[in-house]
């Protein structure tokens, strides 16, 4: 592995994304990206992808049944998320956007809790410090700065952890990821900018986001190495991320990874993708499905059989059922909680507003008796 790039061109991405598995599961060894995964870990990657897809599907159903307000599916992006998140150590931190169910499951964030944001029960429902998994960030690209700052903070503290932030192809157009990469480069912060290039920002295709040869070509402008990987190849995603993470952990600073993938579902459940993409395009994309690919690989390596499949299916189903139970008809909490967390010390705030709401809740203020 290269350490500090002395030749600036080392910061440029390779011509082709790193790719270890063909869609049919054929494995191509790559000395730059050795696989340090045992059989159990290989199965684990597969298992997490299947569970993610199941929960993702359940979320779409829950939305259709009026249980969630909206949901942003990660279908098709399981390998990108799980391969990358799996490359981190437990102490490392993740700063997600709103689409990272897969990464959240790697971090054992409770799936029902994750979905409560989309239900609107509360604005988030997990303790970031319990999972080293930041809050979902909806304003595009903004979380990249939190990841950079956190990584700077770790470095200032001589704590050898790494942070990783996810954003999308659309996100690369915003000012914040630009500033985050600027800071990360200057301070050599151990942060991985992981872009899931799923080809769309809602309806807007990649070519409307940039004229760059690739998104990974942005990295050199910050003195950061730009990597590209087949994001539907969980092994390649893992290996490339792993390399970037270890590089960062050893003090060589940030990295940018562009994972080529495809958003198989609508942008969110509110979206109507038939307005801007064709069935043919979808059919084409389906051929590169990350889960089928990994199953083919495991099968070819004799790591896969019906028992395994059944076990995983069962677990996926159980998780989905638990999610369903955790969401279905869940009550909202105490409305007075609206005032609970705004300030650590609310002295002087909310003068009468809390009382107003209390009175409204008690029915003292009640249109009915007018």
């Amino acid at each position: 592995m290269s350490t500090a790039a002395s030749d600036p061109n080392d910061l440029l991405p390779p011509d082709e994304p790193v790719h270890l598995l063909d869609p049919d599961g054929t494995y191509h060894a790559d000395p730059d990206h050795p696989l340090d995964l045992d059989d159990g870990q290989l199965r684990e990657l597969y298992r997490m992808m299947v569970v993610t897809r199941k929960v993702d599907r359940e979320a779409i159903n829950l939305q259709r049944q009026g249980q969630l307000g909206v949901y942003a599916s990660c279908m098709g992006q399981e390998a990108a998320q799980i391969g990358s998140a799996y490359a981190l150590a437990a102490d490392d931190w993740i700063f997600p956007s709103y689409r990272e169910l897969g990464a959240a499951l790697v971090r054992e964030v409770d799936a029902a809790g994750f979905l409560h944001l989309y239900r609107g029960t509360w604005l988030s429902d997990h303790d970031p410090y319990a999972h080293n998994f930041g809050l979902m960030s909806i304003p595009i690209g903004t979380q990249a700065l939190h990841a950079a700052g956190f990584a700077m903070g770790a470095a200032f503290d001589d704590n050898p952890i790494v942070t990783m932030t996810y954003f999308g192809d659309g996100g690369t157009s915003e000012g914040d990821p630009h500033e985050a990469m600027t800071f990360a480069g200057v301070f050599k912060a151990p942060v991985i900018f992981f872009v899931q290039n799923n080809q769309y920002a809602i309806s807007v295709p990649l070519e409307r986001q940039t004229a760059a040869p690739s998104l990974a070509h942005k990295a050199i402008g910050y003195g950061i190495p730009g990597f590209r990987v087949d994001g539907n190849d969980v092994l390649a995603t893992y290996a490339v991320t792993r390399r970037a993470v270890e590089r960062a952990r050893q003090g060589h600073g940030p990295a940018f990874i562009e994972a080529m993938t495809y958003r198989m579902e609508a942008h969110t459940t509110s979206d109507d993708p038939t307005r801007y993409r064709t069935q043919e395009e979808l059919d084409e994309a389906a051929k590169t499905d990350p889960i089928a690919r990994m199953r083919n690989y495991l099968t070819a390596r004799d790591l896969y059989d019906q028992d395994l499949e059944d076990g995983i299916e069962e677990q996926a189903k159980a998780t989905a059922t638990a999610v369903r139970a955790g969401i279905y008809d869940a009550e909202h909490g105490d409305p007075l909680e609206l005032f609970e967390h705004v300030y650590d010390d609310p002295t002087g705030h909310f003068d009468h507003q809390r009382e107003q709401l209390q009175a409204e809740l008690a029915g003292a203020v009640d249109g009915e008796d007018l």
């Binding site: 307000g69 909206v70 989309y118 909806i138 595009i140 920002a201 005032f339 705004v342 709401l357 007018l370």
Partner: protein
């Protein structure tokens, strides 16, 4: 013909693009998708992808290039996809869009219309239900308007585009599907004037955008109680129609300001300050406010507790009447 607010705005955009070949419409997803609320539906098909186009995902870029386009001679209508996503463009709006005409001593005109779907009540996730109007109304150099009816949606949008001043055009998204029986085109009152939507004698409700309908409902309910409420739709938040506000309170002696935005330094603060100055001796009770709380916009399941509704309004009315 029944027309929704969204359709009315869409028609205004189309009619203005038809009337003036210099009008451009752009933003995130406004092209083929027709906007996430379909307000720009059909415009790209009809006017081509040079007149209605998708931009990169960058709000500062959208407003900053709108300024350059306007300097060149185009008449840009820029969409911010949601209220909460105007903030990345704050600097371009406040430091340039609002100030450049003045800075240039009038040589540079910036006839830019910034369309912003705003407000809550649609069960959305965070950042999709903000009411940022006070930020804009506090900023000298901007005009800020918001329609409360489909007719105004049409007429004010056309006026906004024709204005040589930069206009922040706030669209009450939860009312996009509200219908009115209107034959388009329609021309309503001048954009800087407040309009009395319902006359009354006991208390005036001042409102705008999404709360106009809520206040009319409140006035209906109050009538059963025997209270006669006047409902004034402010329409323009900058400038505020002080004369109309004062005139109404001179009639009713009591006022409630209603808006979704947080109370502190919301539009209600300015309305109260102006009324107590302009109608001091007519006021029989303080100007009260029925608004959102001074907390971040809540999660969807709790928004009904946060948003002002008929009950909160009538509670304020009662407090005013019994003051």
């Amino acid at each position: 013909m029944a027309v929704t607010l969204a359709q009315a705005i869409n028609a205004a955009l189309a009619d203005e693009m038809e009337a003036d070949p210099k009008v451009l419409m752009f933003g995130e997803d406004v092209g083929q998708l027709g906007g996430v609320f379909r307000v720009t539906d059909g415009l790209q098909e009809r006017f081509g992808d040079k007149r209605c186009y998708d931009t990169p995902l960058a709000e500062s870029g959208i407003i900053g290039t709108a300024i350059g386009l306007a300097m060149y001679g185009w008449r840009p209508v820029a969409e911010m996809q949601f209220d909460g996503f105007t903030y990345p463009a704050f600097e371009q709006i406040v430091s340039h869009l609002a100030k450049m005409p003045n800075r240039s001593r009038g040589t540079v005109k910036l006839p830019v219309t910034v369309r912003i779907p705003y407000g809550g009540g649609i069960g959305a996730v965070e950042h999709h239900s903000e009411s940022p109007e006070a930020y804009w109304a506090h900023t000298a150099g901007l005009k800020v308007m918001t329609p409360g009816t489909p007719d105004d949606g049409y007429s004010m949008m056309r006026a906004a585009i024709r204005s040589d001043d930069p206009v922040i055009f706030l669209e009450p998204k939860r009312r996009y599907w509200m219908k009115s029986d209107t034959e388009l085109p329609v021309t309503t009152e001048p954009t800087h004037e407040a309009v009395v939507r319902r006359e009354g004698t006991d208390v005036t409700l001042f409102c705008y955008g999404p709360m106009v309908r809520t206040c009319l409902e409140a006035a209906d309910q109050a009538a059963d109680e025997g209270w006669s409420l006047e409902v004034v739709d402010l329409r323009s938040l900058s400038p505020l129609d002080t004369a109309a506000m004062v005139a109404s309170v001179q009639r009713t002696g009591r006022a409630i300001v209603v808006h979704e935005a947080a109370m502190t330094l919301g539009i209600g603060a300015e309305v109260a300050a102006r009324i107590q100055e302009g109608a001091f001796y007519h006021l029989e009770a303080p100007v009260l406010r029925a608004t959102g709380f001074d907390t971040p916009y809540p999660p969807a399941k709790l928004e009904e507790y946060w948003l002002p509704d008929v009950d909160r309004i009538l509670d304020a009315v009662e407090r005013s009447l019994t003051f």
